[in-house]
């Protein structure tokens, strides 16, 4: 990635000042809903329920978070979400490493067709298959089963992950692989000992994508999980939203709690994520 402007040297001008101001204003507008979510979770509900609601919190009160963890089963929801998401990551890595390797490093008849199939499954809206999947899962006795939910999440995230990982396999220099082959490594050793260690950022990106695709998912979870004690966080949160007896600041605190993890991870690996997601389409 080259940043042409970065290398050029220039004095701050009126234009730069205007641009800076525009960036600040636009960022503020964009960020406002996030700010509002946080503010509404740390001030007394009465303040949020007045009109017009004050833009700055009059008093700060983090009691909502205590109330959330004491009165609502959020800890349990988060734990189950973590479980399902972790299973999804494991399943995704098992399936995607060999497939991405085959897509990136081997030439075989049918590879384009496989690529097309992946793209096609990746573009399919979940709503198109949700009813038949419910029928299938009922037939198998897989409803209200978090393992089966994780398997479904895996099926819907692997196509994207295969592309992301293929892009990082593509970036491993051919010479290294060839040298290893000449040195007598077999195919598996090349993959495990040579290619994988060189693509750690790609593997991290794939894990994060899979984890949060599952963590955030609502449609499948809401149709396949009916028992309250198996609720994942997205389901629990949606239930809190429709239960009118949840105090507003507790609801907002739940929203913030649920968002912290994905926001943290996306920010941390944003560059890798983007490089993986855009490989091939953006030259440079």
């Amino acid at each position: 990635m080259s940043a042409p402007a970065r290398t050029r040297f220039r004095l701050p001008s009126l234009e730069d000042a205007l641009r800076g101001a525009a960036i600040v204003i636009v960022s503020a507008i964009i960020f406002f809903p996030v700010y509002w979510m946080i503010v509404s979770s740390i001030r007394p509900s009465a303040e949020s329920l007045s009109f017009p609601p004050p833009l700055w919190p009059g008093s700060i009160d983090v009691q909502s978070y205590f109330q959330l963890f004491v009165e609502k089963p959020i800890a349990r929801w988060l734990l189950l979400s973590t479980l399902v998401a972790s299973l999804t990551v494991i399943g995704t890595l098992i399936l995607v490493i060999p497939a991405a390797y085959a897509l990136s490093r081997l030439y075989w008849p049918g590879r384009s067709a496989f690529g097309l199939l992946l793209l096609f499954t990746q573009m399919m809206p979940a709503a198109v298959v949700v009813a038949p999947i419910l029928a299938l899962y009922r037939g198998l006795g897989w409803t209200d089963n978090l393992w089966a939910l994780a398997l479904l999440h895996t099926a819907f995230v692997v196509p994207l992950c295969a592309w992301v990982l293929k892009a990082s396999f593509d970036a491993v220099p051919k010479e290294i692989v060839e040298a290893a082959l000449i040195d007598g490594c077999d195919r598996w050793k090349v993959l495990w000992l040579v290619v994988l260690p060189l693509t750690r950022p790609g593997l991290v990106a794939v894990s994060v994508i899979a984890f949060f695709a599952s963590w955030n998912e609502y449609l499948f979870a809401s149709t396949l999980i009916t028992k309250n004690d198996l609720y994942t966080a997205s389901l629990g949160l949606a239930t809190l939203m429709t239960q009118l007896d949840t105090p507003l600041f507790v609801l907002m605190a739940a929203g913030v709690t649920f968002s912290i993890l994905p926001v943290f991870f996306y920010m941390a690996i944003q560059r890798h994520l983007l490089r993986g997601l855009t490989a091939g389409a953006v030259k440079g």
């Binding site: 990635m1 960036i23 198109v128 029928a135 609502y218």
Partner: protein, 308 residues
């Protein structure tokens, strides 16, 4: 997240000439197929098979196998209204997300202190899960205490809080807004790296030729990022047809059916009216739309790979 699909090649020209040598070194012809088998099996069982089964549902009518569901669908004014809502929603999301994404990318394509911080902040809406996004929008739009009303009241002449979710036009605006807000960072960041890959020399040359700002944008920037824009347009289209959670949790498809697009429509038929076979027929339409979009994506990608 599935919207953020990989902008990657389906074919890899670079490795094709290696065929002869590779098969000599790597050996066994079955090896690649072994590698993809587990993934293929899962996709077959949990994506392809349900699509086929859904299509079979749609043929299942009280009078035996037949096209009655489709006949009913094509004659159903609700179906055509749903298509209309889907078009309005999808086109609005695509146009808004690309316009906002590009404007932001242009604004950011410049070195300034704190650029990394702004980039990270921009990622936040993308990272927040849909359920909390829906909760926040519902709170901000509440007719009695929503903060959006407070902002709107600043406009001269506005003396009442609009009923955001009870007015068909406003409700559509709201779901489009929430979808765009959640999705735009991806488009913005991708366009930013596309902008940065436009060769600097072109701008230098343009300056020597005394080309103006607008001319530079029109004749250098735009052609440089056009392929990326086209691919992103297809991705935004797919992203918006996939959107279910935000619409469902913010408006429930309402008021009446004003924000019922394809995904909520299928869901309603299946789980509100328990009409799996009619839901199957609508799902086949959704399948067709997304298959066409996928083909467009592949064609655009091919064109991008071949140098002009």
């Amino acid at each position: 997240m599935a919207m953020a699909s990989a902008l990657t090649q389906t074919t890899d020209r670079a490795s094709r000439p290696k065929r002869a040598r590779r098969s000599g070194v790597v050996g066994s012809r079955a090896f690649p197929y072994l590698l993809i088998m587990p993934m293929l099996a899962l996709e077959g069982a949990l994506v392809i098979y349900p699509i086929v089964r859904g299509a079979l549902f749609s043929l299942d009518t009280p009078a035996g196998l037949g096209l009655d569901n489709y006949r009913y669908m094509l004659a159903d004014p609700d179906f055509w209204r749903m298509i209309q809502h889907t078009l309005v929603f999808t086109l609005s999301v695509v146009v808004a997300i690309l316009a906002i994404g590009l404007s932001l990318a242009l604004l950011m394509n410049w070195s300034f202190r704190g650029r990394g911080v702004v980039r990270s902040l921009l990622t936040v809406p993308w990272a927040i899960p849909e359920v909390p996004v829906a909760i926040t929008f519902v709170l901000m739009l509440d007719p009695s205490f929503g903060v959006f009303n407070a902002f709107l009241r600043l406009v001269p002449g506005v003396t009442e809080n609009p009923q955001w979710l009870l007015d068909p036009v406003l409700a559509m605006l709201v779901v489009v807004g929430a979808t765009v807000w959640k999705g735009f960072p991806f488009y913005s960041l991708v366009l930013l790296s596309a902008l940065q890959s436009v060769p600097d020399e072109l701008y230098e040359a343009a300056k020597i030729d005394r080309a103006g700002r607008f001319a530079q944008f029109r004749y250098i920037t735009l052609p440089g990022i056009r392929p990326t824009l086209a691919l992103l347009a297809v991705l935004a289209f797919i992203y918006s047809t996939q959107q279910f959670t935000l619409i469902w949790l913010i408006t429930g498809g309402g008021p009446v059916d004003a924000t019922t697009t394809l995904a909520p429509a299928i869901y309603m038929q299946a789980f509100r009216f328990y009409n799996f076979s009619y839901a199957g027929a609508i799902a086949v339409v959704g399948f067709g739309i997304s298959a066409i979009a996928t083909l467009c994506f592949v064609l655009l990608q091919r064109r991008m790979e071949t140098p002009e």
